[in-house]
Symmetry: C2
Subunit: 214 residues, 2 copies
């Protein structure tokens, strides 16, 4: 499928205008409908075997944002943003394989026998992976959706900031993640009260190898 | 910063038209200039502490694509796509902190004393993280850049397919990644010879929690 120059330009503007925003207008409300719309678009990201191991814990209750504050090193954005999307990886996500492949059959994307054979293969593979490997697959899936979510939010005029600096153990405990859900990042979303700072990037030559790692 | 309806529409079309493409026109050449341009845009993704732990190993030599074929379970796209971008995480990426913060000072984004104090803090933090934690940070950074790269490619009329199914140990050995570079995914990029299959996604309710994990 081809794209137009206008599309490319508009797309690049979204990418270039995305910045990590740490100060939000505390009065901006984003409806759950709109949040769901953005999450639905984020979840169009690809995932390993289409198993979609991303999970979104939306924190929009004022009490829970306050509870999150000390866990997130008192960074004000977790109370001032309209909502905090905790991006999680589900290490037992293969439990939804029935649903995933059922949908593919229903939509006519796969004949039933093909879908069932894929399903068996993936459930057997995923449930037997070493725990650090399935965790990594979940973290990758979740990160892909997170990046897409940041861009979708920007395209809709909102801002975000991916936060890795929080107490993972306390967060898991406070929000009952158990062993199943891996916290990947916290992603506050809202309207910027102050624009994000620009940041520099390493020259591309510094992070690129051509055919050979040197 | 606000966005326009046209921008939003154009952006959403890029997201919606991205599909994993497994059949490529083997005659399409993407110049290294254009690859660099796309990688530069991908690297505008955010990263933990702006440390940019993503690395890109571009494989565009026919011999190396052939070498990759058996490592990637004989999936033809690794020889037919114009290039394969191996997305890596650099677990020793903090070694570039001098450069990262030097750039921030040079661009006037940070006063020198602030930059130096951040730098010391991050180098000390990153070099003392347990190896599984720094690996996860690198994998997350790399995945964010990978998602942005897939969308940039699409906006420019190219297609990609994120591949997790390859022999990681053999890949590390064949391309001399050592212990420093973690392979996150292989990302063939090129012109589709056949469009990708559509795939379904779980209903958003199935992957979203509101304030409470249930």
């Amino acid at each position: 499928m081809s794209t137009t120059a206008t599309q490319e330009q508009a797309f690049l503007e979204v990418i270039q205008s995305r910045r990590s925003v740490r100060q939000y207008d505390p009065h901006t409300v984003i409806s759950r409908e709109e949040l769901k719309e953005m999450l639905t678009l984020a979840a169009k990201a690809p995932s390993s075997a289409n198993m979609q191991l991303w999970r979104f814990l939306v924190i929009d209750s004022p009490e829970l944002k306050e509870k999150l504050l000390p866990i997130a090193n008192s960074q004000q954005q977790v109370v001032e943003a309209s909502a905090i999307i905790a991006i999680l990886g589900d290490v037992e996500g293969y439990r939804k394989a029935d649903r995933v492949f059922g949908q593919a059959i229903e939509a006519g994307y796969m004949p039933e026998d093909v879908a069932n054979s894929f399903k068996e293969r993936y459930v057997s593979l995923y449930s037997s992976l070493p725990s650090d490997r399935i965790r990594e697959v979940a973290v990758i899936d979740a990160s892909l959706a997170a990046m897409q979510l940041m861009l979708v939010a920007r395209a809709k005029g909102y801002d975000t900031v991916p936060m890795g600096g929080f107490d993972r153990e306390k967060f898991k405990e406070a929000f009952n993640l158990g062993e199943r859900y891996v916290p990947v990042m916290l992603l506050p979303i809202g309207k910027a009260a102050k624009p994000g700072h620009p940041t520099a990037r390493l020259p591309i030559e510094d992070v690129t190898f051509w055919n050979e790692v040197k």
